[in-house]
């Protein structure tokens, strides 16, 4: 049975019809036409579908769309500030933290949430924080570089505001 629900994604309202079993990932990709979140495994193991639900990273393949009504969802399409990319996005570009790019949206969503929890992490802490996102191309070294560079950039900005 299909039901009309309204999702708040990237601060916009999306009225969509879903079934009870519709996953958030499918609602985002097929109904909201936001295809930045990727499907790599459908079992929550690869992290390519990571989005933010009320600021927390979740694998959207394991979340039912209907359960997210009334919550704030942010996808990779919503992290840049207008034309200004998020410092984590910039750092992934500059540090070579991406190759094929299929894990990149999820990796960036996890990194942004992680850096909010831990603004000045060690490399080991970054590795720990990213363990739910699989990348098969980079060997992770340059992804850790990127998160570290973003942490410095974000920390600098936070410092300048004080």
């Amino acid at each position: 049975m299909r039901t009309l629900i309204e999702l708040n994604v990237n601060n916009e309202s999306y009225p969509i019809d879903v079934e009870g079993r519709t996953r958030l990932l499918d609602a985002l990709r097929d109904k909201c036409l936001l295809t930045g979140a990727k499907e790599g495994c459908s079992t929550g193991d690869c992290g390519a579908c990571t989005v933010h639900l009320d600021g927390q990273p979740v694998t959207s393949c394991l979340v039912l769309a209907a359960s997210t009504v009334g919550h704030k969802i942010v996808t990779i399409e919503g992290v840049a500030d207008g034309e200004e990319l998020h410092p984590v996005q910039k750092a992934f570009m500059e540090c070579g933290g991406l190759q094929c790019g299929i894990c990149t949206p999820g990796m960036i969503m996890t990194s942004i949430a992680f850096l909010k929890e831990n603004p000045s992490p060690t490399r080991d802490e970054i590795r720990d924080g990213l363990q739910g996102n699989i990348c098969r191309c980079t060997g992770y070294d340059k992804i850790v570089d990127a998160v570290q560079a973003a942490a410095l950039e974000l920390d600098g900005k936070a410092g300048s505001k004080k």
Binding site: I76, Q131, R136
Partner: protein, 757 residues
């Protein structure tokens, strides 16, 4: 430049290199789209009226189909197509040409009634429906009856007398005279490769010591994070349009034409952004079926494999059982090597030729090998980054480390003593570079710690490629070609065109054409891309440059020889006043006799030179749990010339991790009944960021004369040494040589406990 040069960007891109556009770590052209979610992968496509394709698969590894009834599926509302062996023409089959060095394979599209299914997960039928849910239900409604047959799962069982035959028509291969499989005809043989140089018997007789070991390595899955996906549409006049995740859209076009008996000109293939391929995306897994469903449904159809399907029915790397016998002299020289190998090629064939890599990059006077593709009840394997090299290198290089350990020789010194030398190769320099970076001579280890070193060789292939470099009216430049960019190669091509035309890299745009529009481009496999397309683009840019200089010579009333092209303008040497910008020339060209500036470049094939990846790893083994932790990693590679050093490092580090993780944790597992045991990412473990330490990467540059600016192809070699280095490090830590990969905690624990008992 012939000297070894270590370049390490170790930081952000955009490192300046004078006015040069090559040799710089520029930000990838596709980076913005990839960090913002804008990059379009095949699964992101939605078309009006699009249907979803799905497969019904065999739950058994070996069975004969006695009946298929699709009537209830066809009657389900919303189903737009159902196809089985019975609905297809008998001259249609899967035809796949992989990389230039891999075999061409043919298999039927579906088994029909009376035929056998040969592996768990084999396709029996495909359906298309207006929703995924209806497609799923339609598959459930297809009734198939099977007569179960005993499966054969292990290659060492499959070759024995009386073994179950996977291919009923196969005939036994002649018995060997020596080695572990000697004495009886070999069964289930799908292919064989034999080589002999010198006289191994005499070599072993003359050796001071002779070692013999058998190495076993399981199948591994490439595990690209984007599963195989295709969208197909067929117009009323029969024109087929395909959007697909592939390493080679021209290969897909030719495979579809050959498989489905459609003329090339009636097929147009769009290569979409590829979410990882590593050798597995040359087509034939979903694209052929997608076209057949679209033909029948008369609507666009999308098939997106699930991760589960990836493990059941794609083309993973073959496992292998390789016995190696090696004779050494008293003063530490390799005298003779012999290998006997069984490659687990499932229901298919191809791969056993890679056994020749057991010989390695060493001077070995006497070498002999007898290698076989062996059928088992598993899916046919395919290419995985340097196909066969990690398996053969595991056997060859691990044994070298064991010999060194037993003889008290240093494994780096031993390799340096025995390595071949020659023009355009830098084996010794590359190994020395990584040994220096790891401080090998003064390496320290604590309790339960160990070091492993290994090298893996590879020579890039080359393939036909065409490119067009043309100038906009504002003096900026575009490249048009049929290159499938997997690894950042579009960016490198832009750097090459910019270098030739004396403009900033940012002034070059790159356009990939579909197969209807672009000049032919070989597939992105076999490490061919930068070597082959690089030459084509360089030639096209040089052609455009010639036109630019002709126009400038006319305009400046000077001889071409007196002109200098740099910084976006052409100037008469010694007369800075006499100058014209590329923007002016771009405009002038439109009104000139010759018309717009269009440069063309084509390349077919020229030989490259062999490179090696040299890698060193340090591990710590937990004696209580058997868990192996990598604590340090070093790697070097002779890249010929690093056009984009950051990109080179990315290839090296990614390949290194794939190699080491095959040695550490990756294995496709099959039960005794042939069913796949770990068809998901929870059970088939690939490494996360937590499983690997930082990697120290050293680029070595020994140019090859046929590569653009000396480039060697580097995509594949970094995966080759990892298994051997990892396994050897575990032996160094525990004192036990475990000859079966991967080094799972249970295997390490049982081997080390057994040794102590």
């Amino acid at each position: 430049m012939t000297a070894t040069e270590a370049v390490k960007t170790n930081g952000k891109a955009n490192g300046a290199n004078g006015s040069h556009q090559i040799g710089r770590s520029v930000v990838r052209l596709d980076a913005v789209d990839k960090v913002t979610g804008r990059a379009q992968y095949t699964a992101d496509l939605h078309f009006p009226g699009m249907c979803y394709g799905m497969f019904l698969r065999s739950p058994y590894a070996h069975a004969r189909i006695t009946a298929i009834d699709t009537s209830e599926a066809e009657a389900l509302p919303g189903v737009t197509a159902v196809i089985t062996g019975a609905t297809l023409s008998s001259d249609q089959a899967i035809v796949v040409e992989e990389e230039a060095h891999a075999a061409r394979r043919v298999q039927t599209l579906f088994p029909s009634v009376g035929d056998k299914v040969k592996y768990h997960g084999a396709k029996i039928a495909a359906v298309a429906a207006v929703t995924r849910e209806i497609a799923e239900e339609a598959c459930e409604r297809i009734k198939v009856e099977y007569e179960l047959l005993p499966p054969v799962v292990d290659v060492q069982e499959a070759i024995k007398e009386g073994a179950v035959l996977v291919n009923d028509e196969s005939t036994p291969a002649d018995a060997l005279e020596d080695g572990p499989f000697a004495g009886h005809p070999l069964h289930n043989i799908a292919g064989q490769n034999h080589r002999a140089e010198g006289d191994v018997e005499a070599g072993f007789a003359a050796s001071y010591r002779v070692f013999e070991d058998t190495y076993i390595i399981p199948r591994a899955h490439q595990t690209y994070i984007e599963p195989q996906t295709t969208v197909a549409d067929v117009s009323p006049d029969g024109k087929v349009t395909v959007w697909t995740s592939t390493q080679g859209h021209f290969a897909v076009r030719s495979n579809l034409a050959n498989s489905l008996r459609i003329p090339l000109s009636k097929i147009n293939v769009h290569g979409m952004t590829v979410g990882g391929g590593f050798g597995a995306k040359f087509g034939g897994i979903v694209d052929t079926y997608c076209v057949l469903l679209a033909q029948k449904a008369r609507r666009p159809v999308k098939i997106a494999y699930t991760r589960h399907e990836e493990f059941l029915d794609a083309r993973p790397a073959p496992g292998a059982v390789i016995t190696v016998k090696t004779g050494v002299s008293e003063d530490g020289k390799l005298v003779a090597r012999q290998a006997w190998a069984l490659w687990d090629t499932g229901a298919g064939s191809g791969g056993c030729y890679a056994t020749s890599r057991v010989k390695g990059v060493y001077n070995v006077e006497h070498f002999k090998m007898d290698a076989y593709d062996v059928n088992t009840n598993k899916p046919a394997p395919g290419a995985y980054r340097a196909p066969g090299a990690p398996q053969a290198t595991f056997a060859g290089e691990t044994q070298i480390n064991r010999i060194c350990s037993e003889m008290g020789w240093d494994p780096v010194e031993f390799r340096l003593t025995n390595m071949r030398e020659g023009e355009q190769i830098a084996f010794k320099k590359t190994l020395q570079a990584v040994a220096e970076r790891a401080n090998w001579g003064k390496r320290q280890k604590g309790e339960h710690e160990g070091w492993g070193v290994a090298v893996g060789e590879w020579t890039n292939g080359a393939g036909p490629a065409g490119a067009v470099v043309s100038m906009h009216e504002d003096g900026k430049v575009r490249i048009f070609y049929g290159l499938m960019d997997l690894t950042g190669t579009d960016t490198t091509m832009a750097q090459i065109a910019a270098e030739v035309l004396g403009i900033p890299f940012e002034d070059v745009t790159v356009v990939r054409g579909d197969t209807d529009s672009a000049p032919f481009g070989t597939s992105s496999g076999g490490s061919v891309v930068t070597f082959s397309f690089g030459n084509a683009v360089k030639r096209a840019a040089e052609d455009a440059r010639n036109r630019v200089l002709e126009l400038a010579a006319d305009h400046l009333e000077a001889s071409i020889d007196d002109l200098e092209l740099a910084g976006g303008k052409v100037t008469v040497k010694g007369n800075p006043e006499a100058t014209v910008t590329l923007a002016q020339l771009g405009q002038m060209a439109l009104r000139s006799r010759g018309g717009p500036i269009v440069g063309r470049g084509s390349f077919s094939s020229e030989p490259s030179a062999t490179t090696i990846a040299a890698q060193i790893g340090k591990v710590k083994v937990d004696p209580e749990t058997g868990q192996v932790r990598l604590t340090e990693l070093y790697n070097s590679l002779d890249v010929g010339k690093a056009l984009n050093p950051q990109s080179c490092e990315g290839q090296m580090e990614g390949g290194l991790v794939q190699g080491f993780s095959w040695g550490l944790m990756e294995q496709m597992r099959y039960a005794e009944d042939g069913r796949n045991w770990n068809a998901g990412l929870l059970d088939y473990r690939v490494p996360t960021a937590l499983d690997f330490p930082d990697i120290e990467t050293v680029l070595v540059e020994e140019p090859t004369k046929n590569g653009p600016y000396g480039v060697k192809g580097i995509g594949e070699p970094p995966i080759a040494p990892g298994v051997a280095a990892l396994v050897s490090a575990v032996a160094d830590a525990t004192g036990v040589w475990i000859n079966e990969a991967p080094m799972t905690p249970e295997r390490v624990l049982s081997a080390t406990r057994g040794a102590k008992a």
